[in-house]
């Protein structure tokens, strides 16, 4: 479905992605992990067209997405830090996304899932950090897209909302969606990810199943396995 080919991106003298080659062929949940500055967010931003690569290509369903925007109709995105216009309400933001996209929305299910019914009339400046993140998830997951990209989706969520988010994502996976996410919460990865890509200095250090990584690092918990990888790197 997605092919990342020889992708390079550097900011001035800092090489963030170096000749990255990845293919996401099937549905499922893939966690993109790595230390700070390893290129996780840059990779996702390249897929969304926010960051333009220096060289290489990204193809979705066979077509290059570079300098295009129509393909984003098929991509749902939940960004990392939600700062929406502070004088708009949740209802107005939902209406804005509806104006910008086409298709059937699932807002009622998501409002119920994240218990947002009483928050949608409030201005953004009056919402708490947790509710802002829930609204961010609602807006990102509003449409039924085959590809879902989430950047640190669990930040600021209470345990119930986190549990509901996991259940929603697993359900989406069962409906044949491809879900890519980044996080630093390893228990979240253990609970939902089928596949792990570990980036280190802009290249792929590991690309495989969770169990393979644990076997490779001879650990039982993902957190310790990741720490083992990072110790020599740091």
């Amino acid at each position: 479905m997605i092919q990342v080919q020889q992708l390079c991106k550097s900011y001035r003298t800092n090489d963030v992605l170096s000749n990255l080659d990845i293919a996401f062929q099937h549905e499922g949940i893939t966690a993109i992990l790595g230390p700070n500055g390893s290129g996780k967010t840059t990779l996702l931003k390249c897929m969304l067209g926010m960051v333009l690569p220096d060289s290489g290509d990204i193809r979705i369903n066979g077509s290059s997405i570079l300098h295009k925007y129509n393909y984003r109709d098929q991509v749902c995105h939940v960004p990392q830090t939600p700062h929406f216009p502070e004088n708009l309400t949740g209802h107005e933001l939902i209406q804005m996304v509806r104006d910008l996209r086409s298709g059937v929305t699932r807002e009622n299910d998501l409002i119920q899932l994240f218990n947002l019914k009483h928050e949608l009339d409030k201005k953004m400046s009056r919402l708490s950090g947790g509710n802002l993140q829930k609204l961010n998830l609602l807006l990102g997951l509003l449409y039924d897209c085959p590809l879902i990209i989430l950047d640190e989706p669990s930040t600021g969520l209470d345990p119930l909302s986190l549990q509901n988010l996991k259940a929603w994502l697993l359900q989406e996976r069962d409906h044949g969606k491809l879900i890519l996410f980044t996080t630093h919460i390893m228990s979240f990865v253990e609970d939902i990810a089928d596949h792990i890509i570990f980036l280190l200095d802009g290249t792929i250090y590991f690309n495989g199943q969770l169990q393979e990584l644990l076997r490779h690092e001879q650990e039982e918990k993902l957190e310790r396995a990741i720490a083992n990888i990072l110790k020599p790197a740091l």
Partner: protein, 260 residues
């Protein structure tokens, strides 16, 4: 573009700085009208204030709005719309709310004084046209500065310096040049230099249209000769239009290539 414009406008008309800006002009105009009910005189007093204040507010508000919207821009970039539509919509939404504040703040208190049927309406329209044009030009410059400078403190610093340059420093250099070359015929240089400063252009068009060039002595006579005709006004408006068009095209070009 229209949809982004709509929501940017919705957001900004409820923005507390925008409400403060509108209230400031409402109070200022009302106070001036209480001092002197002569509408033409009030409009001229307002022109002296707007020619300095609107570029400052335009450039500072533009920088502040851009920096406050970086996450929102990223959110919009993930939607199936072009970068051009996002930036055009956001910019025009911001410019429309700034302009709306000025028109409302200055125009509304004058209505009970009969401005709509008064001969001073033309004067007021010129003052409003200049205030709106300066707001548009300086908020465009603000977007250019903020898109270029990632560091907010640096961005605000450049913005304040730009305003200072066009509002004060430029005129200082200009006067120094006139003084240094006073023995030479420098009318053409004077006219050329004026074109590079939108604040000067706005000032001169206002002065000429309000028939105040006699107060400026020989310089006023030169300016009156060149700009005072309808052809001169067309030239000033065309240069002001270029001051809008060039930064706008630069913003679009930068938006096309920039990483977010």
């Amino acid at each position: 573009m229209g949809k982004i414009f709509k929501y940017t406008f919705y957001d900004l008309v409820r923005n507390r700085w925008m409400i403060f800006y509108t209230s400031f002009f409402l109070m200022l105009t009302s106070a001036l009208l209480l001092i002197s009910p002569d509408l033409a005189k009030v409009a001229i007093s307002l022109s002296n204030i707007t020619v300095i204040l609107t570029p400052l507010v335009g450039i500072l508000f533009g920088v502040m709005y851009y920096y406050g919207s970086t996450d929102y821009i990223q959110f919009l970039l993930a939607q199936p719309i072009s970068r051009r539509s996002i930036f055009a919509g956001m910019y025009t939404g911001m410019a429309a709310s700034l302009s709306g504040s000025l028109i409302l703040g200055i125009g509304l208190p004058m209505i009970p004084y009969g401005i709509l049927t008064s001969p001073a309406l033309g004067t007021l329209l010129i003052v409003l046209f200049m205030a709106v044009t300066l707001s548009i030009i300086f908020s465009l410059l603000a977007f250019l500065i903020a898109m270029r400078a990632k560091n907010k403190i640096r961005g605000f610093g450049i913005a304040i310096f730009s305003w200072l340059f066009f509002a004060l420093i430029y005129d200082g250099i200009f006067l120094l040049l006139l003084l240094l070359f006073k023995d030479y015929p420098i009318e053409n240089l004077t006219l050329g230099l004026i074109s590079f400063n939108p604040i000067d252009l706005a000032r001169i068009l206002t002065l000429l249209k309000l028939d105040m060039s006699a107060m400026m002595g020989y310089t006023g006579a030169v300016l009156q000769k060149f700009f005072g005709t309808s052809q001169g006004s067309i030239i000033i408006v065309s240069i002001l239009f270029l001051w809008v068009l060039v930064p706008y095209l630069l913003i679009m070009r930068m938006a096309h290539k920039k990483d977010f």
